[in-house]
Symmetry: C2
Subunit: 207 residues, 2 copies
Amino acid sequence: MIQKYPSALLESAVNEFAKLPGIGRKTALRLVLHSLKRSPEEVTNFGQTIINLRNNVKYCSVCHNICDDEICCICNDPGRDASTVCVVENIKEVMAIENTAQFKGLYHVLGGIISPMEGIGPADLEIESLVGRVKSGIVKEVILALSTTMEGDTTNFYIYRKLSGSDVRISVIARGVSIGDEIEYTDEITLGRSIVNRTAFNDSFRT
Amino acid sequence: MIQKYPSALLESAVNEFAKLPGIGRKTALRLVLHSLKRSPEEVTNFGQTIINLRNNVKYCSVCHNICDDEICCICNDPGRDASTVCVVENIKEVMAIENTAQFKGLYHVLGGIISPMEGIGPADLEIESLVGRVKSGIVKEVILALSTTMEGDTTNFYIYRKLSGSDVRISVIARGVSIGDEIEYTDEITLGRSIVNRTAFNDSFRT
């Protein structure tokens, strides 16, 4: 059903919100009506902050993470281990791994994964710059931390082949039964892999 | 858990999105990352449209509906019956009723309903201006179309008392079994009311 809007301003605002992913026209209208209840200063601040982000966002020239300077705070931190590079799809994964406080190396953000369905090939990703970082000789280990999907595995394999000539250790994050999961309800592939890739009992206590 | 953001710009954009109702920090981050994939023009357009709406929105001086002029397109339409006024909570209800194409009168948007829990009293709503419209003498019938909640009933009753001295018919929208609903599964109060307020069989065919 075509909704009739009493105001063209209202309609264009609803259209703009409805362009965001996961937001339909009903939710968009609710967000717009909420905006009308806020003060003009708050709404101006909202709009300007988003515009400001888009226009002034910077990406680290080393790892391609989002940052406020030329080089991000992780790459710039002398306390971090520059010999280990963790390859991730996006900045969300950087934030997730940083939250674990278990990784003290650097990152490399690909900006996506190889996906023929979506027309994303290796040239669209930051793979060449990863090869460049490895060739510089500082990197001793590359940890692949991509999703366990067809696309993730394809990208892993592509990077593995690209780096196979270099003197670098290539590892992949452990796949296994999640902590807190019951064995009975774990899917077969995960459970099978967790048996094949079992670790020494003493190692399992390292956090 | 406190999320660490790699960029202050990113964090403030996430904060702004997370202020919207129904949007948590994870969704906010998703929306921000989506904004980064759009062109700067698109994002500027998004922000400016919302700011523009908030700063330039107008409310009809007669019915308080949102509009682009001093008087809204419904109040201004000579084809509509100015003797019937439908009282609604918000502009969403105006749009819903307009979509039915069953109402040819005018509206009166209260801007909310009386809710002591949320600190909304009669003075916060456009009730006085409704009384003014009725006193002007053009209005012959006021249709109350508020939600069937405690707050809605309170507001209905307050308006009824305010208008009781005037020579105006006060009606309320029909409550009954929804079209398509099965009698077996209808709640008792609705079913009871639908029997008490039964309509003549011939009338039920009017659309």
